[in-house]
């Protein structure tokens, strides 16, 4: 057995500590050590985006990050998206537009979509489609997902104008 390493990191704003073998991915550590099972393993090779998380403010596939790399880093997952029991507008719009069927790809799509809207509040449909090209959905097709993201972007812009 390899020596387990002690990791201190921040997940969704909270300091967390866990033990990990050096070969374990961040995805497996989130799911198995921290019981944050929102991020999913679809392909394990960075092709499907179901394991998307933010690492120091950048969208990444957590299946392509080693858990030991997370030392002193800042991780944000789908579990941190709703605030105080209130859904993020993207989550609400995914429900309204029925932008999911089995839901396996949904956490990754939401994390990826939020990363886009945080840096580009007014994306074109083409920009949304390219941004989300690394998030695969095998149920609904993409139209409803794209419409939900565009609608959430419009609502967030409106909310910003009012605020």
């Amino acid at each position: 057995m390899s020596k387990r390493t002690h990791i201190s990191t921040t997940v969704n704003g909270d300091p967390v500590e866990f033990l990990s073998d050096p070969g374990v991915t961040l995805l497996d550590a989130l799911r198995d050590e921290l019981q944050l099972t929102g991020a999913k393993e679809g392909c394990g090779s960075g092709d499907c985006g179901a394991c998307s998380v933010m690492l120091d403010g950048r969208l990444v596939c957590s299946c392509l990050v080693l858990a030991v790399e997370a030392e002193d880093r800042r991780i944000e997952t789908i579990e941190g998206m709703a605030q105080g029991g209130e859904l993020h507008p993207l989550q609400q719009k995914f429900l309204e537009h029925a932008a999911l069927q089995c839901g396996f790809c949904t956490p990754g799509l939401l994390v990826a979509s939020k990363a886009l809207l945080d840096q580009n509040p007014d994306p074109t449909e083409t920009e949304v489609r390219y941004w989300l090209a690394g998030n695969l959905c095998r149920c609904t097709g993409y139209d409803k997902i794209i419409r939900a993201v565009m609608d959430a972007a419009a609502e967030l812009r409106q909310a910003r104008r009012v605020a």
């Binding site: 390493t5 070969g23 960075g46």
Partner: protein
């Protein structure tokens, strides 16, 4: 489960020492390494993570050129306005690799050292006349980037060496570059053919300097000096473009595989070289 040791040195010398003793792999963005470890294609006993070494992530301007830290992800390149302005072809090639998620991690140096013949950023940095700064137990050396890959999946680096940074030369006035690739879809695919062109123009608009590189048409990405020479002095008139096309095709030694036949790749290499040259010329005219 993988049985291995992970180290994250904070100096390049420490990293070199950690690489000694064999069976070690350097980790930058991990978008190739972790996939290869998972599939069992590589089984390192030690991973040496370069990202905690100062300067390994980031772009700095030096003597009019740019120094790109070996672990700098594509997304950081795309956000660097001065780099995009000076080397749009290099940045667009790097940004074609994988998804947004992959762009958050994958680096040009990693793309280079993975030594895939179809690597998107490699023809662009070869055409740019980039140099890799390599460090190892015997010290530092500077290597033209086209000399790093020697065969699919194989590099000229010694086991205790790694690429510290990629250096792009200073940019004169009237210079421009471009990279194009052919894939069957619009995103998330591997180049069937790639072409990078880097031009410097005379004040009268004639081509003073031209560098052409091709990807996915040989065991490694190719610098094609004959293709560059074919357009020197021209303003990319049809005759010059035809010479460029012919020289590009003549350099190809592709395989046929599920993504394209050898004949198709040869034909498309000429087409993409023409198109990339036109874009580079346009950019150089406006620079």
């Amino acid at each position: 489960m993988l049985q291995l040791d992970y180290v994250a040195p904070t100096t390049a010398d420490e990293a070199v020492r950690a690489l000694g003793g064999g069976q070690a792999k350097v980790l930058a963005g991990g978008t190739d390494l972790l996939v290869q470890m998972r599939s069992g294609r590589v089984r390192p006993q030690r991973i040496v993570d370069l990202k905690r070494i100062p300067g390994l992530i980031g772009v700095r301007e030096e003597a009019g050129g740019f120094v790109i830290g070996a672990a700098t992800p594509g997304a950081v390149l795309g956000e660097h306005k001065a780099l995009v302005k000076a080397w749009p072809g290099v940045v667009e090639a790097a940004n074609l690799i994988g998804s947004t998620q992959v762009q958050g991690r994958a680096s040009i140096a990693g793309n280079l050292c993975n030594a895939s013949p179809a690597a998107d950023s490699v023809p662009a940095i070869i055409a740019a006349r980039a140099v890799a700064v390599v460090i190892g137990a015997k010290g530092r050396r500077e290597v033209p980037v086209e000399a790093i890959a020697v065969a699919p999946g194989k590099t000229s680096l010694a086991p205790d060496e790694f690429v510290l940074e990629i250096r792009l030369p200073a940019r004169p006035a009237r210079a421009g570059d471009a990279y194009l690739r052919s894939i069957p879809r619009t995103e998330m695919d591997i180049a069937v053919v790639g072409a990078g062109v880097n031009l410097i123009l005379n004040p009268d608009g004639g081509v003073a300097e031209a560098h052409v590189a091709l990807g996915a048409v040989a065991p490694t990405a190719l610098l094609v000096p004959e293709a560059g020479a074919a357009i020197i002095g021209s303003k990319l008139d049809e005759a010059a473009l035809e010479r460029l096309d012919a020289a590009a095709r003549a350099a190809c030694r592709p395989i046929s595989d599920k993504r394209g036949t050898a004949d198709y790749r040869i034909k498309i290499a000429g087409v993409l070289a023409r198109r990339a040259a036109k874009i580079a010329y346009q950019r150089a005219s406006e620079a």
